[in-house]
């Protein structure tokens, strides 16, 4: 592992899918780190490769997926080199996953108590009674009332929100190091969404689990994530802390995403959207994949893929706009507003820091 604080390091991951029409280049050179106890949000449109990335971490990609290159390092071992048995031992124990649709992700003919206890029996070799006792604890922890009675219920006897709580209980029952949440609230009502997100944050604080949070909903990201990676057409185009991405975005695609998200200040009559559709990954375009939809595209975007440019120690973006030779472009108005807000934020932080420093000095005196 390159960094002590990292629990997971993905490097140069490339994944192709063989289909009748040809090879779909679903993941085209993706690298990222996941730190201990943090929440990393991966944001992007459908088909941008978010889910394929996490499936590769779980070793659950469909049989026609081919790993072209790359490594996924976890506890100093490359997950991509592990066989099925070894991955079975990791899944549900060290790395767990929550799926999108709680209505279909529970076995309809098995009592939920058994479904929650299953990972304990598999990985910890627990006896039935002990596993059920722990499952019961877990049910209480995720906020299921009357857990003692409901442990013998079947999934169809629960509402969608309750089922997602059960799925979370199943995922966390072994206190995994990494939890992958693949759009865990998309299928739920908005009010229930907030409850589930709160629950996840609460449990993360208790268990110190690192979360990879997959979503297309930036609104959810703001309250949930520590860092954000924006994916487009099988690549990460920008990553940084949540504040950096929200208030100082550099990539035109991130601008588009943020602009299409309504905020409290949105006053216009029409919500701006990103024109066009993502490129066909059977035949990815030359240069920057986003160029065709990009109002700020440069000639170079059509010829050569942009490398990552460093914005800060934690913030990188892959756009030629950051090249010193590029002309000055004015981002959309809303983004300028955001950047102003960001400037205020950072100044405040510096001021606070100064004040503190002064206070300390005074105390010393």
């Amino acid at each position: 592992m390159e960094n002590e604080n990292n629990v997971l390091e993905v490097r140069n991951l490339k994944i192709n899918f063989n289909t009748y029409a040809g090879t779909v280049k679903a993941i085209r050179d993706v690298s990222f780190d996941l730190r201990k106890g943090e929440t990393l949000a991966i944001v992007g449109e459908s088909g941008s490769g978010k889910t394929v990335t996490t499936r590769s971490i779980m070793g659950l990609n469909s049989p026609n997926a081919v790993i072209d290159s790359g490594t996924i390092m976890f506890k100093n071992q490359d997950l991509l080199k592990k066989n099925r048995k070894e991955m079975d031992a990791i899944r549900g124990n060290d790395i767990a996953e929550i799926f999108q649709d709680p209505m279909t992700s529970l076995d309809p003919t098995m009592k939920i108590g058994k479904q929650i206890a299953e990972p304990l029996i598999i990985h910890k070799g627990m006896k039935r009674e002990k596993a059920y006792a722990q499952a019961l604890e877990m049910m209480k922890l995720v906020g299921i009332e009357n857990a003692e009675q409901r442990i013998n219920n079947y999934p169809h006897q629960f509402s969608g929100g309750m089922r997602q709580r059960i799925v979370i209980a199943i995922a966390l029952v072994n206190y995994p190091e990494i939890l992958i949440a693949d759009e865990p609230t998309t299928a739920l009502d908005v009010t229930i969404q907030a409850q589930i997100l709160d629950l996840m944050k609460e449990l993360q604080a208790k268990t110190n689990t690192s979360i990879i949070f997959i979503t297309h909903d930036l609104g959810v990201v703001a309250g949930m994530a520590d860092r954000v990676a924006v994916m487009y057409a099988g690549k990460i185009v920008e990553y940084g802390t949540v504040d950096e991405i929200f208030y100082n975005p550099k990539h035109p695609y991130t601008w588009g995403l943020l602009n299409s998200m309504p905020t409290m200040d949105t006053t216009g009559t029409e919500l701006p959207s990103i024109p066009g559709t993502p490129p066909d990954l059977l035949d990815p375009p030359k240069g920057d994949a986003f160029a065709a939809r990009n109002k700020y595209a440069l000639e170079i975007d059509t010829k050569q893929e942009p490398p990552f440019f460093k914005v800060s120690d934690t913030h990188y973006a892959a756009t030629w706009l950051l090249d010193p030779r590029a002309p000055k472009m004015t981002p959309p108005e809303q983004i300028i507003e955001r950047q102003k807000h960001y400037a205020k934020l950072t100044h405040k932080a510096i001021d606070e820091h100064k004040d503190k420093h002064v206070e300390e000095q005074e105390e010393q005196l």
């Binding site: 029409a21 160029a291 065709a292 990009n294 170079i300 050569q304 002309p327």
Partner: protein, 342 residues
């Protein structure tokens, strides 16, 4: 870093005009776009077994319906002198096809024994000296006719029944479903036998009895699918726009039912062929002297120990017919609903 093979010039950092960006054509789709039927046909064509069966069925259709051209003899002409002759194909000298037969340990030429002269029967003759090949062709034609008739009733009656029942809903649906439930609790064969007894055995009795039993499954499946489609947005939209029920049925419902209908049709056909053969086999189907694969098997079975070809050939043709329809049906189902197979 991306490949830096080409040097970057300052001119490269010019903004691209909106018009030039249009040329980048992000909407271009590399995979050819296929309609539902084209896509299904593509998948079916890749299914080798199904395609072989399709070809076999086409050949059998041509042979059976053009049997006037292929028949080497009149299928019903008896010739007691030339009874029970084994298969003989001129120019082929393999036991089983050269007109010889095992008799008390030694091979003898049955054709010479019967003074058959230059006559030959490529699949031999039966106990009355009738040409087996011609009779099998005739029997195959009966089977295929039954198949067509059963399909017709499936489409004409089953589909309509199902759509009406599903579309009307309410009381009409309840009553129509009760009728189907009662039909389902009587074994099909019993219904057929009763009808045939009333109508006198023969082709028309078989047609009526197959007509009355074959549509039920189709009606059930079409009804279920109609119920599902009825509440989908595109149908609701058509209703909201004030289109008549008739128009909706033909323009919106039928195209969406087509896969269910085609798949089920492919399973009705072998069932109908089986029932005809079955009834003829037990002796209340196609009556003598007409041939049916069922009667041929029954006749051949009596001599199976000594003249096995008399049962083998009609049995093989019947089985091939059934297998071909079943595999083609499976292939169609997989190509319409590719979930299960690659």
């Amino acid at each position: 870093m991306a490949d830096n093979a080409k040097p970057i010039s300052a001119g490269d950092f010019k903004p691209v005009s909106a018009a030039d960006r249009g040329k980048l054509d992000s909407e271009k789709i590399s995979a050819p776009s296929l309609t539902f039927l084209q896509d299904s046909w593509r998948r079916l064509r890749k299914n080798r077994a199904a395609m072989i069966c399709l070809v076999i069925l086409i050949i059998l259709f041509i042979l059976a319906f053009g049997s006037g051209f292929f028949e080497t003899h009149n299928p019903n002409a008896t010739n007691p002198n030339l009874a029970n002759l084994p298969p003989k194909i001129p120019g082929i000298d393999i036991n089983g096809f050269n007109g010889t037969i095992e008799q008390s340990g030694t091979r003898v030429n049955a054709y010479v024994q019967a003074h058959a002269g230059n006559a030959y029967y490529i699949l031999g003759t039966d106990y009355l000296g009738r040409d087996l090949f011609s009779r099998i062709l005739y029997g195959t034609r009966i089977s295929l006719e039954i198949a067509l008739i059963a399909s017709f009733f499936d489409l004409a009656f089953g589909v309509v029944y199902g759509i009406v029942s599903g579309w009307m809903g309410g009381r009409v649906d309840t009553i129509m479903q009760r009728i189907i439930e009662i039909m389902l609790s009587i074994p099909n064969l019993v219904v057929m036998v009763l009808l045939i007894l009333v109508l006198k055995p023969g082709m028309s009795a078989i047609i009526y009895s197959i007509a009355i039993t074959s549509w039920i499954n189709m009606a059930r499946l079409v009804r279920a699918q109609t119920l599902e489609l009825k509440n989908q947005e595109f149908i609701l939209a058509a209703r909201a726009l004030g289109e008549s029920s008739w128009k909706i049925s033909f323009k919106h419902l039928l195209p969406n039912l087509s896969s269910v209908i085609i798949i089920n049709l492919m399973f009705t056909i072998p069932t109908a062929i089986f029932f005809e053969a079955f009834l003829s086999y037990i002796g209340i189907g196609i009556s003598a002297p007409q041939a049916s694969l069922g009667t041929l098997i029954n006749d051949g079975q009596k001599n199976f120990q000594f003249l096995p070809y008399q049962m083998w050939y009609p049995a093989i043709v019947l089985s091939v017919l059934m297998i071909a329809f079943n595999i083609l049906g499976d292939g169609l189902r997989d190509s319409f609903d590719p979930k299960g197979r690659e």
